[in-house]
Amino acid sequence: MPVILITDALIFLLIAVGIVFGLYAARHEHLRGPWRQVGRSPVAVAALVVMLFYVGIGVLDSLHFHPRIEPLAEVGSPAATVNEADAVTGPDGKTTPDEQGTDASGSQRSAEQAQEITQAKDTISAAEPGASAPTYSTQIISVLDLLLSGLRERQEKTFSAPFATHLFVKEAIEQPDGSVVRAYPRLEHGGAHLEDPSQRSFDLLFRGLFGAIKGLMVWTAIMAGLIALLGWRRRQSFNDTATALWRGETAVPWRVVLITLAIMLVLSFTAAELGAKYHILGTDKVGEDVFYQSLKSIRTGLVIGTLTTLVMLPAAILLGIMAGYLGGRTDDVIQYLYTTLNSIPGVLLIAAAILMLQVYMTNNADQFESLVERADLRLLFLCIILGVTSWTGLCRLLRGESLKLREVDYVQAARALGVRHSTVIARHILPNVLHIVMITVVLDFSGLVLAEAVLSYVNIGVDPTMNSWGNMINSARLELARDPIVWWSLAAAFLFMFTLVLAANLLADVVRDAFDPRLRSAS
């Protein structure tokens, strides 16, 4: 049963706006030209490919639903022993989607219940499948959770290093002869398929290679498709197109695109292959897979980076243009408004607003159906507050630009001909400031992603139950005091964040160079 959280709805709105704007830009040369220039920059296309992977994961993580639960039988089949139940929930990785959904719903409950459900499912599927109306779990999961249900379920007891086969902390283990030794116990899931842990490096190599080859195969298929498509469009033979492409003779640097794509595909397939048997980035304090957390955090980062801009854009554009174009009293009021908001230190304004939200939420806890919805609302609220603190910059830029545009001949002519203000703004001013809006949107993105981490560190960021890089860093920094240190949570969060922000920064540079007329004339 699908669920649409508020941020999900806004993400889809954002995608729709993006598509509409893309269509609009494609038909207007002054916007299409710079974007074409962006598309011809090798750095920009490489960054775009990387960001596409992130966005893909983010979108998958935005499709939420209540998983279906098979109805529980009155009495569990006595034949279904614990071992059998384990075999069903075990780290198979290739179970059918339906089974995965059921398993996923069970994992959050206690282990006993999960077994009960599995047992019940066994009996029902044996007797009469789908007899009664389907019931839905109250839990909300996303399509990404479904795809990664293997990663999500394989919880260990506590910390374990990346690719480890043993737990990170010593435990009392009972030996077969009855004596108790303190040693590192084997992990329940990580590398559990190995009879002898010393074979690990060979196994890792083998599986890694296998994953890489799978990735390369998919890549080859995509490459062949791309070359065929390009060849068909340019009416060239397949071989000619391939040669041109690999010599870098195409206008769009497809060679760079393909190389980046190859790296990303090989990395993700290797990670998927290894992730099925190991914790490739280790586990955290409660034994949750860090790789899973990092992937789940992508959505949070993207939402903060994009929705904040979406929230602030209408106000910034409207007020900025009005202040610059109308001038006079309107200008004074709007200037006063943004100077006032700007003079409050951003972090403190966010802190004050989030503290107030917390007070509201503790006192009205019954209004929220589930933790996910509560966290989601807080995320949205954070976006709004970040938007309130960051719209002033764009507003000032737009005011200055419209102030200039107001005096331009064609605007004066339009006014003289009796065109209404609203029409002048829509037809003449707005299209001429769109490039500023676009540059700001792209430039702000990376800063917002980084800001999320800092805010979460101060506990005024996203909800503590929500997966985010800031929360990962926040919970991991205390473990640095351990000896030997637990570094993988931090490293994973920083690595994922760095890749996204670097790609965004590189893209922003190219976009700004392409759209900024001043720079264009200088070079």
Partner: protein, 325 residues
């Protein structure tokens, strides 16, 4: 000049009133003092009596805007708005929720904040300007390209990483300086090194890149071409002509943040255990001490507006073409 400064200061008043109204709305109207008391006392089933005692202890037991029970003028002064918000204008911050004098705390904690923020700013400025100048000297070569890539990469790293990494590398691995803490007098020096180094490293990427664009903007100007045509060496052109003119936007940018240095660096201070205003704010946020947060919001706004005024004044000082109006 004096008249201009006076006018600017007068103009700051409505802005501060606006700030005050916003914070008042946020803290008292969105959630009533009752809600706040309930939150502080921690339980949903707190008795009304307990709430009333808490409110009386912390001075929240008055009406918000208008006290109908009080005699004459006190109808307006014996209210939360007057006591908690208007008194901020006289820099009377009152007492924190834990009963300490906020004004005293701020005066005490200002200096450690400054001791970190000022060296960070100066060292960062020196490094960023010289590095940017070097990049511009080698412009359109591989040094330029490589440096820009390096700077973008440095910008893309989270500030938290610099802090955690710096603490681990310098403090733990090499045991050069203490990891965190603070001391008075000259002893403070060894505690200051690490935060300053981390602060400089975290800021170098964006500032150097910004300064590089400033320099590049100047280098295409006519006067630079004239200087070269005169036969001046590139070194002289850069230092005597380009640097001097590019310093205008750099310095005015610095002047704008000067007053805010008192506020301290939030994350760095709390991470390195420096008892400055930054860690004060963070602690207040974590303890949900609203009085302190309110005081800091007001202080921050005052300092920001001061920065704006200083920027305008410094513009006229370094660039005679700009006239005050």
């Amino acid at each position: 000049m004096t008249a201009y400064i006076l006018r600017r200061l007068l103009y700051a008043i409505p802005i501060l009133i606006g700030v005050n109204l916003i914070t008042f709305t946020l803290f008292f109207v969105v959630n009533s003092p009752d809600d706040m008391a309930r939150m502080q006392l921690g339980d949903k089933r707190v008795t009304q009596e307990a709430i009333d005692t808490w409110k009386a202890e912390h001075g929240y037991d008055r009406p918000l805007l208008y006290n109908a029970d009080a005699p004459r003028l006190q109808r307006l002064t014996d209210t939360i708005f007057f006591e908690k918000s208007l008194k901020l204008f006289a820099f009377d911050f009152g007492r924190s929720d834990s009963g300490r004098d906020i004004g005293y705390d701020i005066r005490q904690r200002m200096w450690p904040s400054l001791a970190i923020a000022l060296p960070t700013l100066l060292v960062g400025l020196a490094i960023a300007i010289s590095y940017a100048l070097m990049i511009v000297f080698f412009r359109a070569t591989y040094i330029d390209f490589g440096s820009v890539v390096l700077l973008v990469a440095m910008m893309s790293i989270s500030g938290l990483f610099y802090i955690i990494g710096g603490q681990f590398l310098i403090g733990k691995l090499f045991h050069l300086v203490p990891i965190s803490g603070y001391d008075t007098g000259l002893e403070a020096l060894k505690f200051l090194i690490l935060p300053v180094v981390v602060g400089v490293a975290a800021g170098i990427g964006s500032s150097t890149r910004l300064y590089r664009t400033f320099f590049l903007e100047e280098i295409n100007r006519d006067y630079v071409r004239t200087a070269r045509a005169k036969g001046l060496r590139e070194r002289v052109v850069l230092f005597r002509h380009v640097l001097r003119n590019a310093l205008i936007p750099i310095l005015t940018g610095v002047v704008a943040v000067l007053p805010l240095l008192f506020m301290g660096a939030l994350i760095i201070e709390s991470f390195f255990g420096v008892p400055g205003l930054g860690s004060y704010t963070i602690d207040a946020i974590n303890r949900q001490d609203f009085s302190i947060v309110r005081a800091m919001v007001f202080l921050g706004s005052v300092l920001y507006i001061l920065g704006l005024i200083l920027t305008d004044i410094s513009y006229t000082l370094v660039d005679p073409r700009v006239r005050l109006s």
